[in-house]
Amino acid sequence: MAAIHPETEIVPYLRGELSADERARIGAHLDGCAQCRATADASSAILSSLASVVDDVRDPDWATYRAELRRKLHDAQESRGRVSARWPVFGWPSMAMGAAAVAVLAIAIVMHRGAGSVPAPGVDQLELQQELSSTDVGLLANYHVVEHLDLLENYDVIEHLDELGPGDRQNHATQS
């Protein structure tokens, strides 16, 4: 059957989300593809069990829940009131502008100092730089994984990039 398996469309198909045309296309594929039929059956079983997970959650005592919520809301409003009372003129926008001005001033000072004489790096400093450069090159070993990642979909892969073994790198690079 077709080489491309419509994996991401199987759950929308099971849930009746697809248009008539898409539904017919996926249905035809499932008729001829045992692998996707197995995926659909297994996904359907997981979906029905997941729907039951919510029934397993014990409700809290709603009266206590609401009392806590009212208290938290009251505290939040009170602390907000305290902040605006403490900064009657200098609200958050003014504070942000002030912080930006300080940052610009700091950058200007650093640039002014840097614009003068830049001493040539000593031998020790050069050795250190070379050592650091070789470490950076080591990070490029993961480049073929990173270049295929979608930031939104692969947040966890990026976060655990340093834990990937060589086999995983290969898999991620070929899957993407």
């Binding site: 991401t8 469309e9 929308p12 849930r15 989300e17 997981i46 919510v54 919520l69 979909e153």
Partner: protein
């Protein structure tokens, strides 16, 4: 006639306390259960769902009505759940969550039973749910939220995309990978 969520939201923006009470009444159980399913911890679910209602109260004026109220509110809730998990990730690694099933989660292959199979089937269903919980905990936050929004709230892929601020196609990928990962975890269990 009962006011719609969107009407209540407008009234909350005008600081109508009764409207807020009515809105909380309407959504507290669903919000708490979804948070509990995502976080796997009842105390955290209580805190985070309450925080979501506080955010709702504070930012009701920013609801522009372009999406359904529930999509907008669940975006707040799910984001708070994801933030909460990211903040607590280091702690969770040191002290893994105890699941209601405890250590007696069975070692058989995953075969979800029907809830219509009488008391025996119900017991098996409870057992499979106990095995699902720790498996859910191993999914990425976005996969877990996507899968639970779909199965518990009946959200479509487009609505999940709106909640998670991604495209419909990416939402489908999150659901697909989440379910594939659950299958793998339960088979290896």
């Amino acid at each position: 006639m009962e006011p719609s969520d969107e009407e209540l939201c407008k009234r909350i923006a005008a600081r109508d306390a009764d409207a807020f009470e009515l809105m909380v009444d309407r959504h507290q159980a669903r919000a708490y259960r979804l948070a509990s399913s995502i976080l796997g911890n009842e105390a955290d679910a209580r805190d985070v769902s309450q925080d979501a209602f506080i955010r709702l109260y504070e930012s009701a004026g920013r609801f522009d009505g372009r999406s359904r109220f529930s999509t907008w509110f669940y975006r707040i809730l799910v984001n708070l759940c994801i933030d909460h998990q990211r903040r607590n990730r280091w702690w969770r690694r040191l002290a893994p969550l105890k699941t209601p099933g405890g250590d007696d989660a069975d070692e058989h292959a995953f075969d979800p039973p029907s809830s219509e199979a009488g008391p025996e089937g119900e017991a098996m269903l409870k057992q499979s749910i106990r095995r699902l919980r720790p498996a859910l905990d191993k999914l990425s936050s976005q996969q877990r939220a996507a899968v639970l929004l779909q199965t518990q709230e009946g959200f479509t892929s487009r609505e999940i995309g709106e909640v998670l601020k991604c495209s419909e196609a990416t939402a489908r990928v999150h659901v697909h990978r989440g379910i594939a990962q659950l299958r793998k975890l339960l088979q290896n269990d």
